[in-house]
């Protein structure tokens, strides 16, 4: 097969800082190619150059179908058959599926009259071509994320794509939805359309890819045969470190019970939740989006009181009817969406850390001593290894992993006995993830009880002691972390 796209010596600097250095890349017509790299490795910059959003530094070559271009414009890139499906999908939620798919027809002549019949035909033939279940008359706003992704793929097809680049396509999909996406990818391949998956979570797509290109710090490490690649080798290539985890389950049979939950129920969200949590235990709760795991966490943190059931902390029943009550009872919660719920991004790092404990530091007049505050902040920054040049900088200046540590510091400052972490490593790269796991181990060893909510199988197997599987609001299964394989756990989740 001929190369559809060839890049040679592509570099890109932003204000003197290199984002890409002399990267070569070839995409064969009809192949499935993975582009792997950590956040900041230059993946996105490379996509922007291919899609014409940004020009590369002078000196590089872009060859498409044998024709040389010094750089591309977005219009040229589209005309040549390059379609990027961004992580946010770039759809128009208020318009119908049909109009989203056939939107290019609105762009042909601005003053032209809309041919609604033509739009309906284009949409339904495209939908039929890859055999997906979509009603062209539905409004995109009413669809699930997976369905929206199908709309985005159909739109790329309707625009006569020859290369479809998907940015983090599996990030918000369930296993079944990922399988459906892979089936469609095979269909695209059969039609001679090349697909590039861009991701830092590639286990799922490795099985159908032919080649993998790995970027690190703006440099291409190489292009490898996907057959010879494993998730683990890919991880070490991407980060430059070997991470070797083994499940570790300490003997907690003698440990006193920290929290016991009996028969919690909240209609429409979860039913019949009963479990014990020991001092020093890390309990993993895994389940799909919508399984009730986050709702349960919010209940334990007092924000969605349960209809029935009791919660005891160290043998005493606690009434969790507000988050204030939960904090007083010794429960802390690090939300999944740290940006919107956990942090005041514009405020200094120091202020964010002490936010939850200001009332405890205040003297009789309600004033907080600056010295005490400084010491508290310095203590947490050192203990959690937050990389901050100055605690007075705003939290926005920190990387994702360090932001997550600030949230954890904020809650640890309340001296909790039970720490609930909801998907703490989402959007955090591998190096930073490892730091967060180390913190969890350390806290558990000190006697804190930790609940780790996650949708990543390896995460709960290697970093918790016990795993509960939630599905449709119920606890469906429970395993010891060292006695179940990743495959078996995945099967239990999909069951």
């Amino acid at each position: 097969m001929p190369n559809f796209l060839e890049l040679a010596g592509i570099s890109k600097h932003f204000g003197g800082i290199p984002a890409l250095s002399k990267v070569d890349l070839a995409i064969v017509a009809g192949e499935v190619h993975c582009l792997a790299g950590e956040n900041g490795s230059g993946k996105s910059t490379l996509i922007k150059i291919i899609s014409g959003v940004q020009p590369p530094d002078p000196g590089g070559r872009i060859v498409i179908d044998g024709k040389l271009y010094p750089h591309l414009t977005p219009a040229e890139s589209t005309r040549l058959g390059i379609q990027v499906i961004y992580q946010d999908l770039s759809l128009f939620p208020e318009l119908t599926v049909a109009e989203n798919i056939a939107f290019a027809q609105h762009l042909r002549r601005s003053v032209g009259i809309v041919d609604w019949k033509q739009i309906a035909t284009t949409a339904s033939t495209t939908i039929d071509r890859i055999g997906v279940a979509l009603d062209p008359r539905d409004k995109v706003a009413d669809l699930s994320i997976a369905q929206r992704q199908l709309v985005a793929i159909c739109r790329a097809l309707a625009a006569d794509a020859r290369l479809v680049i998907m940015d983090e396509p599996t990030a918000s999909l369930t296993r079944n939805e990922v399988d459906a996406l892979l089936a469609i990818t095979r269909e695209l391949k059969r039609r001679g359309i090349a697909v590039v998956f861009v991701s830092h979570r590639l286990d799922e797509v490795l099985e159908i890819a032919e080649r993998v290109t790995v970027l690190r710090d703006g440099v291409k490490l190489g292009t490898y045969d996907a057959k010879d690649m494993t998730g683990r080798r890919l991880g070490s290539l991407m980060t430059g470190h070997e991470y070797d985890y083994t499940p570790y389950v300490p003997d907690l049979s003698q440990a006193p019970v920290m929290m016991s939950v009996r028969g919690l129920c909240r209609p429409g969200e979860y039913q019949d939740i009963t479990f014990d949590l020991a001092v020093g235990e890390v309990l993993g709760i895994i389940g799909r989006l919508g399984s009730g795991r986050t709702e349960l966490a919010l209940t334990l943190f007092g924000m969605r009181p349960s209809a029935t059931g009791t919660v005891m902390i160290e043998g005493k029943t606690v009434v969790l009817d507000s988050n204030r009550a939960a904090i007083v009872a010794g429960i802390a919660y690090v939300s999944e969406d740290r940006l919107s719920l956990g942090l005041v991004l514009e405020q200094p790092i120091a202020d964010n850390i002490v936010l939850t404990t200001l009332h405890r530091m205040a003297n009789k007049l309600g004033l907080v001593s600056g010295e005490e505050r400084r010491q508290t902040v310095a203590g947490w920054i050192a203990q959690l290894g937050i990389k901050a040049s100055n605690p007075q900088n705003s939290v926005r200046t920190l990387s994702g992993g360090n932001q997550q540590r600030v949230v954890i510091a904020k809650w640890l400052a309340t001296k909790p006995r039970v720490l609930i972490l909801d998907s703490p490593t989402v959007g955090v790269d591998i190096n930073a993830k490892d730091g967060i796991y180390a913190i969890i181990r350390e806290l558990a060893a000190q006697g804190m009880a930790v609940i780790l909510i996650s949708d990543e199988v390896p995460e709960v197997i290697y970093h918790t002691h016990r795993i509960m599987v939630m599905d449709r609001g119920r606890i469906r299964a429970e395993f010891k972390a060292d006695s179940i394989s990743a495959e078996a756990l995945q099967d239990a989740i999909d069951a």
Binding site: L89, S90, L91, F92, E94, H106, L107, S110, S144
Partner: protein
């Protein structure tokens, strides 16, 4: 096949229609003059100005922006156009060209400030309202124009029917303006490619840019169109008032905004229909007219209008949240 009627019954427009019909029936039964032909003509005539502006504003709201300055734009347009008409011997064509030209120009200034300089649309248009209105008041010293050319005052209505009591029923400039504004807007939004691009930009601006829409061009179109409509509407209003007063219009922008929002247009952009806007204007007109006919004080009427808007917007938000929670459950 889907049941079209069932689909329609779930829309915001269907609910508005029910409310409108109920209110209409109530006013018919409780007042003597509401359901008369003359009152309907009066309503169409006096709401011609607001209705036209609502059509123009709808386009800006769908594009994801907002404009508060259009009443000041209209004031400037009518004052300049009719001063020219009083000074030189010009006719309808010249006056219309001047008024719409001024409206278009002021609208384009808004678009440039908002689209090219990336300023917030509400701040820019509040500022532009003050600049235009302040300049107008300064230059005219607040003087009204009482004497308008004869052709302007008299040649704008056509008697269609005279009843036994010698009452004349007319079609006038206001009705024509109203129908024209809504028809052109409906055509623009639903039948032209650039109209669909307006929806796309309002629905997701980044995505619109990525598919290759020239977003700034859409800003120019939306604000320019509202400006142009405001210019035309200003003549319609002056013709009805038979005079021009520089401070007669400013202050009415929120009524127009209320009607459009009542009609289901979203302040977040991407959503809104001409039919809904028409219903919004009718409902607001009926409320204000009905309360007047019922003999309620005009202060009460103002308060009542405000409450209805709160109610409508609240109902819309509730409906949205209900939909979001059900579709969320389906997705899980």
């Amino acid at each position: 096949m889907r049941d079209l009627l069932k689909d329609f019954s779930r829309t915001h427009e269907a609910k508005l229609m029910v409310v409108t019909i109920v209110l209409g029936l109530f006013l018919t039964l409780t007042t003597r003059s509401f359901a008369t032909l003359q009152n309907l003509i009066d309503l169409l005539t006096s709401y011609g100005f607001s209705g036209m502006l609502a059509a123009g504003l709808l386009v800006v709201l769908i594009s994801g922006g907002i404009d508060i300055s259009f009443t000041a734009t209209a004031s400037v347009a009518q004052y300049v156009a009719l001063t020219v008409a009083n000074t030189y011997s010009v006719g309808w064509i010249a006056v219309t060209a001047i008024a719409t030209g001024i409206g278009l120009a002021l609208g384009l200034i808004n678009a440039v400030l908002i689209g090219a300089l990336r300023l917030s649309s509400i701040i820019v248009t509040i500022a532009m309202l003050n600049v235009s209105f302040g300049l107008l008041m300064f230059i005219t010293r607040g003087n009204q124009i009482y004497a308008l050319p004869d052709w302007f005052v008299n040649e704008a209505n056509w008697v269609v029917y005279t009843d036994a009591a010698q009452t004349e029923y007319t079609i006038n400039l206001q009705m024509i303006g109203l129908v024209a504004a809504f028809s052109v807007t409906a055509f623009l939004l639903n039948r032209t490619n650039i109209g669909r691009q307006i929806f796309a930009v309002g629905s997701n601006r980044d995505a619109a840019q990525r598919v290759g829409i020239k977003v700034f061009r859409i800003d120019l179109l939306a604000y320019g169109y509202l400006g142009l409509v405001a210019g035309a509407a200003s003549l319609v209003q002056a013709q009805n008032a038979q005079s021009v007063s520089p401070n007669a219009l400013v202050g009415r922008e929120l009524d127009v905004l209320a009607a459009v929002v009542l009609g289901g247009a979203s302040l977040a952009g991407g959503e809104g229909t001409v039919f809904g806007t028409i219903l919004g204007v009718i409902l607001l007109a009926m409320l204000q007219n009905g309360l007047l006919l019922l003999g309620v004080s005009s202060y009460w009427s103002q308060c009542f209008t405000g409450m209805v808007i709160l109610l409508a917007v609240g109902a819309l938000a509730l409906e949205k949240r209900r939909q979001a929670s059900t579709s969320g459950r389906v997705a899980s």
